[in-house]
Symmetry: C2
Subunit: 757 residues, 2 copies
């Protein structure tokens, strides 16, 4: 079987480049001095017994970040980014993630705790490792790269070939070929991506010879995480692989199959290797990657793409490595690992030859240009070792001890970068902020999340067999369908709320002045607002706050309104302030006051300067990517200033509040002020009742309240409901301009998965 021919003759190039990808990245939590911490795994990361994204590896301090399997490297990388942002923002203030595979600074061995997992066997296994290798060696971190070929590809290749009768045997041999070739040529990846040139001396065991110079990869060398030399496992075929591995476990040389530290692992549906014989190899795990300290998430996207094609090359090659080649490859790896990072590698010629084949493959596959360019750059690195990752790394250190300071600087930089836009998940920034906030909480809490439709903000969440769908952050199965339909229709909303006994302002619409004036008696003595149906910047609006008492005044107000529109609306006027109540289930979780865009004078700066200063607030931005919006200085704002006798160049006196807008929308630069703890509980109870009357689980209720300190009374002058909103905005409660943050997205999760709380 010639794979190259099968692929090119049958036009399988595209399918060959498809696959499923996952990245696992270990990192030590370190303190502000770079020392591995001895604090427990943060509680905020939920339960490690099921957490799909945030686990601990050997030590309690050693975070393992796991992306869900994705259909592209890019998507896996987005998840890696998101999980990092969640972790870095959730760590205590004085904790960071070490950017290096090798520890920066070690605490006394006795203070290192193995991961405190629920499963007793998992803990026992770790205790055994301590016995065999000591705790320090277990402090090493790296990246594991999971890859699965497209099922369709394997199926088509199977149909096209004639050697195999059994599709599982065929699939196994594909992966075995890939695996053996990988082990043969893995030295090249270490040459390119190694980044563990040094470590503090305390790491080395007593009596051990300490390297006297920088090396390429301590981690991949015999100083690193390797089995005793006698542990040899056969890759000739799957049967021998399983049997030799089981042999070492039976003999007690390995305590478990997973103690076999190969740079490649064959993965099936279950953990035991024997199961592979029945169901076959499903995917491969590559384990030899050092953390890239210059990459924010331990690996660069283009390198992850490169690795994908390198792995494909291992299948593409005409030659299939045998067991001897595998052994040879391992020796070459050990050798390259200990070369000086700035030296030409001993295997440069083999590497260049392999790159020739690599480039031929890319040409034949019609691979993306970006990949071809990356491969050219990597080829160049064979000639210029100072351009390799480790070459660049050692050049940025004057002496081995600079390693510590560099690591600390990078760790702090990475944390700062991940926290800068703390209200967003950078990798999912094309989605709404509220969905980003929800995803943040889901990742933190460890709830399996699948993005069903990114543009449509559609998520599928799963805990065990329990599946929930969420759209736009809070549209879920918990609301009944009729609720949003009621809320969409203002007439029906009013009728439903009035029927349920809530204070609702009544309104009537008119199409001519005479009809409205005939209806005057209906409004006499009532506080009403008379307005054009489509209001434009408040033109044509008259408010009778004290009640309309005079027919002629009424007529005049109606005529003014009709100048602006063909339809005029006369509505009960509610005196008071509008508050947004965010209700979920039986609770009002947040109350917010929205104030129109404004600045406060200081007697020194102009309005324009005050606006510019206020716009510096980190939550303010343009467009939809920030929770608050910058105040504009357009026509509407200037008109508003004019009404107050001001221009943008006026210098308002100290303490004077200058309004820049009449409307209080956050989207036009308004301020959001949390009032949850100040609002009298009677209004919060009303908002819950209104939500229930709508049949809704989540609702944004807008109430007018004249005095939030006094208890609500059953009359329109005490309070009135203006609107009920399904899919209410959450960001303004989570990131208010003033006051306490209300993390309502967490309550959405609690509502959907009560079994977790």
């Amino acid at each position: 079987m010639n794979i190259q021919q099968l692929i090119t003759q049958n036009h399988l190039e595209l399918l060959f480049q498809q696959g499923t990808f996952g990245i696992e990245k270990e990192s030590q939590r370190i303190d502000e001095k770079g020392k591995i911490v001895t604090t427990p795994h943060p509680k905020v990361f939920g339960n490690r017994s099921y957490h799909p994204y945030i686990q601990t590896d050997f030590a309690e301090s050693q975070l393992e970040l796991i992306t869900p399997p994705q259909q592209s490297v890019k998507d896996a990388y987005r998840w890696l980014s998101a999980i990092h942002e969640v972790v870095l923002r959730s760590l205590p203030e004085n904790e960071y993630l070490s950017p290096f595979s090798m520890p920066l600074a070690l605490p006394p061995e006795s203070e290192i705790k193995v991961a405190q997992l629920d499963n007793v066997e998992d803990v026992a296994y770790r205790e055994h490792l301590v016995e065999s290798y000591g705790k320090y060696k277990q402090m090493i971190s790296g990246i594991h790269y999971n890859f699965q070929l497209a099922d369709d590809l394997i199926e088509k290749l199977f149909q096209l070939q004639k050697t195999y009768q059994d599709p599982i045997a065929f699939r196994n041999d594909l992966y075995l070929k890939l695996g053996r070739n990988f082990l043969r040529y893995q030295w090249l990846l270490v040459y390119l991506f190694a980044a563990s040139p040094s470590v503090e001396n305390a790491f080395f065991r007593k009596g051990q010879q300490i390297p006297q110079q920088f090396v390429r990869s301590l981690r991949s060398s015999h100083y690193g995480y390797v089995n005793h030399a006698e542990i040899k496992v056969s890759y000739e075929n799957l049967q021998q692989y399983v049997e030799t591995l089981e042999h070492w476990v039976r003999s007690g040389k390995l305590i478990a199959e997973k103690e076999f530290y190969s740079n490649i692992r064959f993965r099936g549906a279950k953990k035991q290797v024997r199961e592979l014989l029945e169901k076959g190899i499903r995917y491969l795990e590559f384990r030899l990657f050092d953390l890239n300290p210059f990459a924010q998430y331990g690996i660069e996207l283009e390198d992850a793409e490169f690795i994908h094609y390198f792995v494909l090359l291992m299948l593409w090659l005409e030659k299939t490595a045998d067991q001897g080649d595998v052994e040879k490859g391992r020796e070459m790896l050990a050798e390259v690992a200990l070369e000086h990072p700035l030296s030409i590698t001993a295997y440069q010629q083999e590497g260049l030859a392999l790159f020739d084949q690599f480039e031929q493959m890319l040409a034949q596959l019609n691979a993306p240009e970006s990949v071809k360019q990356t491969v050219q750059q990597k080829r160049q690195q064979l000639l210029s070792p100072e351009m390799t990752l480790c070459g660049r790394l050692v050049q940025s250190m004057q002496q081995p001890t600079d390693y510590h300071q560099l690591g600390l600087t990078l760790a702090k930089q990475n944390k700062a970068a991940a926290t800068a836009r703390y209200y967003a998940l950078t990798a999912f920034d094309n989605m709404e902020l509220s969905t980003q906030a929800l995803m943040f909480d889901l990742i933190q809490q460890g709830i399996k999340t699948e993005i069903l439709d990114e543009n449509d903000q559609f998520l599928c969440l799963q805990v065990g067999d329990h599946i929930e769908y969420v759209k736009n952050g809070n549209m879920t199965s918990k609301d009944s369908y009729i609720s949003p339909l009621i809320m969409e229709n203002k007439v029906v909303t009013k009728k439903v709320l009035a029927k349920a006994g809530f204070n609702v302002p009544q309104s009537l619409e008119f199409r001519n002045v005479e009809d409205a004036v005939r209806a005057y008696p209906l409004f006499e003595h009532r506080a009403v607002v008379i307005k054009p149906k489509s209001t434009n910047f408040g033109l044509g609006i008259t408010i009778f706050k004290q009640g309309v008492e005079n027919r002629e005044d009424f007529r005049q107000a109606v005529e003014i309104a009709f100048r602006e529109d063909k339809e005029v609306m006369i509505e009960d006027y509610l005196v008071g302030t509008e508050y947004r109540f965010f209700v979920l289930g039986d609770d009002t979780l947040a109350v917010l006051l929205r104030e129109p865009a404004n600045v406060i004078g200081d007697g020194q700066h102009t309005v324009a300067e005050l606006v510019a200063a206020k716009n510096e607030h980190p939550l303010r931005g343009d467009g939809s990517r920030t929770p608050l919006k910058k105040i504009a200085l357009g026509d509407i704002e200037k008109l508003q200033l004019k009404e107050q006798g001001l221009t943008v160049d006026s210098v308002p006196e100290k303490g004077r509040k200058v309004q820049l807008r009449a409307n209080s929308n956050i989207s036009t630069g308004g301020d959001s002020i949390d009032m949850t703890d100040l609002m009298h509980p009677s209004y919060k109870a009303l908002a819950v009742g209104i939500t229930k009357a709508m049949g809704a689980a989540v609702c944004g209720v807008d109430l007018i309240v004249p005095d939030y300190t006094k208890p609500a009374e059953p009359k329109l002058s005490s309070w009135g409901v203006i609107e009920a909103n399904f899919n209410p905005m959450m960001m303004m409660h989570i990131f208010p301009y003033q006051g306490k943050s209300r993390r309502v997205t967490k309550n959405v999760i609690k509502m959907l998965f009560p079994e977790l709380f």
Copy 2:
């Protein structure tokens, strides 16, 4: 207090004309010979213990149709129409509603059953009436007209006047004035609206003098439904009214308060008159109206409007009748009732004087022109008795016995008219047919229904304290909100269904030919359809039913598709026929096959003639007012004919099916064929599963099934799901072109109110 002044000086004219209205109409069920039936109250009308719309009066045969209170006469009248249509379509084939107040033909007295109500006291009361009056007298039917002044009006008048301190006393005296004046002038209404000139002789009691000529109103005369002459009740004030009435009950002359047959009743919140002293009079019931045999629903809308203004006039009059006037009015009524319908009434002059005041009032109120015209016509009838209702009636009869034949003819006409558009509720024809069908069932079943928004098809249903909202006939609280959101998004729908293990055709979209051709291996050997993303009359579509086997054919199909659109979709092609499964809860209630518009040749008629004949079907119409649509003969149909080598003038051979459309939509003249009983149950179970996977309560699932007789197998060649629709159309199942009707609206009601079933 001068009401006229208060109203005109304070501009209360509009408020004065507002109010709440209700109509109750009794009718005897009669057989095809006109005889009152002895069959029980039809079971289909549900339970009389709570039915708000369809009750029985004295006898089991005597239907009482009750409109809910409405804010306008017109709306009350619409309900009267709707309830009539429900009743007439629900009666057994050989039963009708008598159009006359007086019985057409009487069965032996022993065969007449009093209404078989659940409440023992209600039955006992009826048995007592039999004792006192005999059963025949209780066979008389009429219309009761309920009216309540606007609360706002009474409140404003109370504030404006200075005589009363107590608002309830004020309200009572308003209604008492209105009531006394009404009793004083009621003779005029009898003159205008009486319609019981005759009855069969069997009606009269033995020894009773039988009128020898037509009279205006037997029903309002002493032959009718009146108390013994000694029963006199005082209307001087509410206290006396209550006490005198209670006196007659205590003395045993009346068995209950309700045996007092006044033409006006004061109504409170409860049935006992004593309660009026505490809570006051809430509304008035006027009871003197004979059924108008020429009106489809026993009363004409313009007459109902006239009565409203006549009642207002009774309040408007400066003079307030006293008890003496009340007695006088009753005597005048008795006299007018027995006048010959074609004679000038004895009280013509008083009547004309009253009309003068009537017209002045209308002018001062600025009442609608239509009302002014009606009032002018009625005034004319005082001069021309042959124009009164009873005048017209007796003119259409040669002799008293023609009464029987006329009644029978009108009864049959009315039933035919109410049944003509049996798929609609005429009065609510501006709403969707499915909402009309649901309202039909709600009225029939006796579920309180309020229309919250007519344009938006929004209903509020209530049984006891249990409230449900329904939009568009089947959007309810039973669906979860996420369901329609999933179904709205085709990508998400496919993912959710695939995840749940259902057969879903996969599809990919492409933006250029090369990308699509590169993806060829993904489609090889699969049955696919290649089509422009926005399809236009099937242009650019290629289907590979047997699987695509050739790369060049594939490329060609892709190129053809790209000629029509910038985006091309390649989708698994499902071989088979599309069926619509209507699922509600755990059941597939209906399965429908939709066939594209077609005619079957007969070897004699042209295509155009065949289409014209098919379009005669009663369910076919234009626009949205019929369940099926007429087949058009436009460009698309002609193109379709051309492809079959035909024109509209061709005469297709006998049995040849001629397609007029490629698409199977009902909206373009397609046929709907019920397949519920033929479809293999395995597909119905799948449709239920798909609905559940969507979290929906009601769902229209479109499945492709090649052979509906064979059980479903778990592969795409056995079946596939094309689409899941929330708010699925119901009319096509209720009124299919062929096959059995599936009344799915009834199941919606069962789902919402399981406690009733």
